[in-house]
Amino acid sequence: MQETSSGRRGAAIYMVVWLFIGIALGGVISLSSDTPMANAMLFAIPINLVYAFAAGYSAYYLCRAYPLGSRRPLSIALVLMATAVVCGILWLLLGHAWNGLTMLPGADWAGIVITRQLSALIVGLGILLYGLAAALHYIAIEFVRAKNAEQRELESLLMAQEAELRMLRTQIDPHFLFNSLNSISALTSQDPKAARRMTLELASFFRQSLGMEAHKKVTLGEEMVLIRHFLAIEQVRFGQRLRVEEALEDAALACLVPPMIIQPLVENAVKHGICNLPEGGTIRVGARRAGSMLHIRVDNPVDADMPPAPGKGVGTGIGLANVRQRLAGAYKHEASIHWGRGDGGFGVEIAMPAQTTEGED
């Protein structure tokens, strides 16, 4: 709908422009000779409007047939030039025919004298206007092409987001999976009830993470449910070594976040923090809403003896880079993520727009 209405508007503007050119041509004819204004206008306006269609359509097909960049610019220019000259001459012939036709009734407000100069002017103007029409078409074609490219880019971005989340889901740390299964294997003989609880936690975790869709944001509260399943499983593995503290404001829990944006941070906190500490430690997850911004923080202790050196702790940056990328995809520059080591711990802080309904962005 929008396409056709904007097309119609374009056509109207096009015709008005040609109408003005016609009036201008009539004025020039009237002023440059003794021709009365009425005669000049009666000659100039109709032939201009006809030429508007003829040159417009002809240029349109020509521009389609010779898109920019398809051939050498010189050959396109030559083709255009030749066509413009032919059209200019045809236009002059049309002018003569129309002039003859208007003179038939013998009214004194019709008919002009087509001098040599006027003929040259008409042909020259015809060539110029043809060139102008062609240029307009090229601009329009380029514009449409750019718009389509943008559309395609947007679509592929969406698809990439979807693919990325799918990858995240399937790339749930294999260590996590196999170690959890190993814990279940141990529990089946020692504490069958605990084994069943762990199986159910695993099932809930996978069911929820597999059900998430990339473009559909979830509330922080829902994300926290997923995180709690994850931590419950890890707590079976690590026992007393893994402790968790939550400091979550209700206003923050109601905010929407991209799915699985916090879970990787908590997973990192276990993998690169608790995992390396014989005595374990406490992971802190905090979220608060400050005006239009949502702040989320994940902290974990780290092994002070373990330098953040290459070799050890590789991959720390990959998960974080992925989160940063997804934040940028969802909120552009409005979201930020910072991380750093200090005070015997590692902390990540995310700031993003606080949204409570989908589509505010």
Binding site: F178, N179, L181, N182, S183, S185, A186, P278, M306, A309
Partner: protein, 245 residues
Amino acid sequence: MRIIIVDDEMLARAVVREYLSEHADAEIVAECANGFEAVKAITELSPDLVILDIQMPKLDGFEVAELAGAGPRYIFATAFDQYAIKAFEFHALNYLLKPFSQQRFDQALAHARANVGKGAPDTAVGNMVREAAARNKPLGRVLIRDGAKVHVIGSDKIDYVEAQDDYVQIRSEGKSYLKNQRLTELEGQLDGEQFLRIHRSYLVNIARIERIEQATRDSHVAILKDGARLPVSRSGYQKIRAALG
């Protein structure tokens, strides 16, 4: 057969303990939850077999095997470490993938039992440990075993390293440590941007150099921030010039 179980997860140790209860001759002499305990226990108790998890805090399984030496036989266990699995296959080492069954465990145990007491040290373990160290380079820290104790020295804390026959003496924060390694091998593992071989017998931490002095007409000494004076060879002097600009 005297056995030590090393795993940081209580439940993982429990599985091994349970599977071992099927074997009357297996005696569990220690259970360790981290690498330091493991090195200490292996050194002090000299078991026949160590069942060793790869991913552990402080020291991983490879580092434990490196520090504790090739005295005992090892069965490595990992949940998912593709590099380690490849290495186990390549060196025909005894390993278990978690979770494992009683049958699989029995096989690994039988294999280890066949080798226990054969005397010949397990060269495959040494090879793999060296390979793992090469993979982790540049080393962020150097591990030194001193009897049953393990010292972990951050490579930025090292002043210099001096070659002493088959050993290296590592100087750090006013203390000296001996490590059974050749200087050239250690040099290859440390960060070349950080350490410079200024002499056949000396590897120095560039950040610790205070100044270079002319000693005789064609020899120099490097004076470190703590006042130590190290000889600089001619090629070493050129390297220092290039590094310090």
